[in-house]
């Protein structure tokens, strides 16, 4: 973990941790900090220690930083994540960068707050594998250093809830919104390339991105914090059957823990938001991704099936993947190759300056891969030469 800590030192200076993040209005920032967990140096230091501590997993092999790696843009840049004993989950690890600014946590929003979310993987059988929070707390309480730190941070004995709070406090220091595009919005006309500026125009108009990815100075993340079915897993899944199974499974054991297991460990993961609301209109829907720093957090979508931003554009360009629950705003876009390149250039201009070299590396890598293969490209659908509904009613 040392290499990660070294990198982290470059990104976030310890001295700054209790400060309002760069680019944030202090009053607005306060809204993101829970009343019972004000950011203090003690809490951040504790959270940081916990974030990198593999003892939080049952067999001592997995820490938060395993899947939310500082040197990999606070995710693992893998399709889906690997927990204890080499087990693979069903979801792509979201980055912990800027997670503090989200309204709900996890891709299906099943957690209401960062402090709650941060402790959940500890007891997920695929991820960190403790049977319950208490045994995890007991495990790290063997380290007297922790006992001291918890007392200093929260003025009480070490406990499971405070583990989440401390990690949450640490993650609130991981705010990275200082992108070239932000400087462009603030009036620096040269901050992004002409190609990216064209991409921004498309983003707001023809490509329809802004409908779900609102992005401006007061909402820098580029997510509407809502849940949409864009058809990612419609390629492979029978939603109806899954929904039936899900209702049966949740009726049998309606606990938070069960939901956690089903969402990460089984095919029911594909149902997304439906697992929480049990509302048909939420079948296969996931929270709109934040697009700030999107260039450095591949692969994309909840299951990591889209490897490059060009694949992402191809997916949207053809109007997503047809399924009964497809979001009403998803339409074939008829973007030309040049226009796709422009939107992608814009997306790469949304990366915080502190990741400039990683951004450059990713852009080159993804461009090279996209030149090789574009598995989701379908110009017939994109340009409406073929209409999905016609295929369906022909039979």
């Amino acid at each position: 973990m040392d290499y990660q800590l070294k990198e982290l030192e470059k990104l976030v200076r310890d001295a700054d941790v209790a400060e309002v993040p760069v680019g944030f209005d202090p009053v607005v920032w306060q809204a993101f900090v829970p009343g019972d967990n004000a950011t203090t140096p003690e809490r951040v230091a504790l959270g940081k220690k916990l974030y990198f501590d593999e003892r939080l997993s049952k067999d001592g092999t997995v820490s938060c930083a395993t899947c939310h790696d500082v040197t990999r843009a606070f995710t693992d840049q893998r399709k889906v994540s690997e927990g204890i004993r080499g087990q693979l989950g069903r979801r792509n690890a979201p980055t912990t960068m800027n997670a503090a600014l989200l309204q709900t946590l996890f891709l299906d929003g099943r957690s209401p707050s960062l402090d709650h979310q941060a402790r959940m993987p500890i007891t997920n059988p695929i991820e960190m594998g403790f049977p319950d929070g208490e045994s995890a707390a007991k495990e790290i309480a063997r380290d007297s250093e922790y006992q001291k730190m918890f007392r200093a941070a929260y003025g009480r004995d070490l406990n499971y809830e405070d583990i989440g709070r401390a990690i949450g406090a640490f993650e609130r220091t991981l705010v990275f919104i200082d992108s070239p595009f932000r400087r462009f919005l603030l009036g620096d006309g040269d901050a992004v390339s002409a190609e990216a500026q064209q991409g921004f125009r498309l983003f707001n108009e023809k490509a329809r991105c802004v409908s779900c990815h609102p992005m401006n100075l007061s909402n820098p993340l580029g997510t509407d914090n809502r849940f949409h079915n864009i058809g990612v897993s419609a390629r492979t899944q029978n939603f109806e059957l899954l929904a039936k199974n899900a209702l049966a499974a949740l009726a049998q054991e309606p606990s938070e823990q069960k939901l956690e297991e089903l969402a990460i460990g089984t095919d029911l993961s594909e149902l997304g938001r439906f697992m929480i609301t049990k509302n048909r209109s939420d079948i296969g829907s996931f929270r709109t991704s934040l697009i700030l720093n999107i260039g450095i957090t591949p692969p994309y979508m909840h299951d990591g099936t889209l490897e490059t931003l060009w694949d992402v554009m191809d997916h949207y360009n053809k109007g997503g993947e047809a399924n009964p629950y497809l979001d009403g705003g998803i339409e074939a876009l008829a973007l030309t190759e040049e226009e796709i390149d422009q939107v992608v250039a814009f997306l790469f201009a949304l990366t915080d300056d502190r990741f400039r070299s990683e951004n450059q590396r990713q852009m080159e890598r993804q461009r090279a891969q996209a030149a090789e293969k574009r598995p989701f490209r379908d110009d017939d659908l994109a340009f409406r030469r073929k209409l999905v509904f016609e295929e369906r009613i022909k039979k």
Partner: protein
């Protein structure tokens, strides 16, 4: 009508008795079917208490007796030719998928009118073809958008007569053509398409208000003559059979005459399309419910909204399907209904039988936390 004041316990006992009474004559297999159906329906709406299986309490919680007839509805699809718009086609397909997944399947599916946008053959053919995918039987109703290009010629060739009635499980059902307009076109020398577009234009001073018309009122009177006052009656009409807002033709000009014909029945329910929104009304013994559209939601009219209506909040302009959807009608043994609005981008809303029975005092649906318009 029930006496006005009854304790919760009395009502609960009555409901239980009614429920168990309705189970008499069922063999074990059908009983299992009924209870599984009730549970399934509740489960898909997320109404099942997560800790236990309590079908009896559930049906009580849903209010009144177990529903006897289960209708699904799809309405106001406004299909265009594919070169103009295929979004509405996809929306109609979504509704068809919704209805086809209902388990158990409904007794029948009501199509609420305005299948086409401009009454053209291609639009109606496309709609007919899509509706063929429905597994349950379909009852068609006509809307003004289906009618005024050729005055119903094409529609009738596909779906038969627009005015008809039938009996089902002790309830009398009537479908009306409620969008009859006076001839405003001949004198103006309008082409069929000009006539169609005038009617489709809603708020213009050229067309006349919708009516059921003298001829159909006579038919209705005759049709109902052989039914006693306590026969449960459900009427389907495209426009609301009352006067809401004339400038948008959310209006039936001879509504009072039609209501006069229906008034003698103890319980009458009118289910209407055209308004593309949540709409609830009650005039005397007649309970009115609107249907959602699959195409787009209308804003609420600036005046005339019935007091019982709980307005849905303003649709999200960034999601073209917000405020749209389909739904279900569950007809109880007394002919009154639970009306379910199945929104595609929101939680479903049930306007329960008790709500209109109690003039809006009981079983009040949750009000949305955002304003309408």
């Amino acid at each position: 009508m029930r006496p006005k004041h009854k304790s919760v316990e009395t009502r609960y006992m009555e409901e239980r008795q009614e429920f168990f009474h309705s189970l008499k004559g069922l063999d074990r297999r059908s009983f299992m079917k009924v209870s599984a159906a009730a549970f399934g329906a509740a489960a898909t709406r997320g109404l099942v208490p997560p800790t236990s299986f309590q079908p009896v309490r559930l049906s009580a919680g849903q209010g009144a007796s177990a529903a006897e007839i289960h209708i699904a509805y799809i309405s106001d699809s406004h299909l265009y030719e594919k070169d103009v718009n295929d979004r509405f086609v996809r929306s109609l397909l979504r509704a068809v998928d919704d209805v086809n997944q209902l388990d158990p399947q409904p007794d029948f599916v009501l199509y609420g009118g305005d299948l086409a946008q401009l009454g053209q053959s291609k639009e109606l053919d496309l709609g007919a073809q899509i509706l063929k995918e429905l597994k349950a039987p379909v009852r068609m109703m006509v809307g003004e958008h289906d009618w005024y290009l050729d005055l119903g010629e094409k529609w009738k060739s596909l779906f038969g007569q627009p005015t008809y009635s039938w009996d089902h499980k002790g309830v009398h059902f009537v479908t009306l053509l409620s969008v009859v307009e006076k001839d405003f076109w001949t004198a103006r020398g309008m082409s069929p398409m000009e006539r169609m577009k005038t009617v489709a234009g809603l708020d213009n001073g050229v067309q006349s208000p919708f009516t059921v018309g003298a001829e159909q009122r006579r038919w209705l009177e005759n049709d109902l003559a052989r039914y006693s006052d306590d026969t449960p009656l459900v009427v389907f009409s495209h426009s609301p059979l009352y006067k809401l807002y004339k400038f948008w033709n959310f209006w039936t000009d001879d509504a009072e005459e039609v209501q006069a014909i229906l008034r003698r029945f103890r319980n009458t329910v009118v289910i209407h399309g055209h308004t593309h929104q949540m709409l609830t009304n009650r005039i005397g013994n007649i309970h009115f419910h609107g249907m959602l559209a699959t195409s787009w939601p209308w804003p609420y009219a600036p005046e005339g909204i019935p007091a019982l209506t709980i307005q849905m909040s303003r649709p999200d302009p960034f999601n073209p399907q917000d405020g749209c959807g389909d739904g279900e009608v569950r007809v109880h043994s007394d002919g009154l209904v639970d009306k379910i609005y199945n929104f595609w981008n929101r939680n479903p809303v049930t306007v329960a039988r008790e709500y209109t029975v109690s003039w809006g005092k009981e079983s009040v649906p949750a009000r949305p936390n955002r304003p309408s318009y």
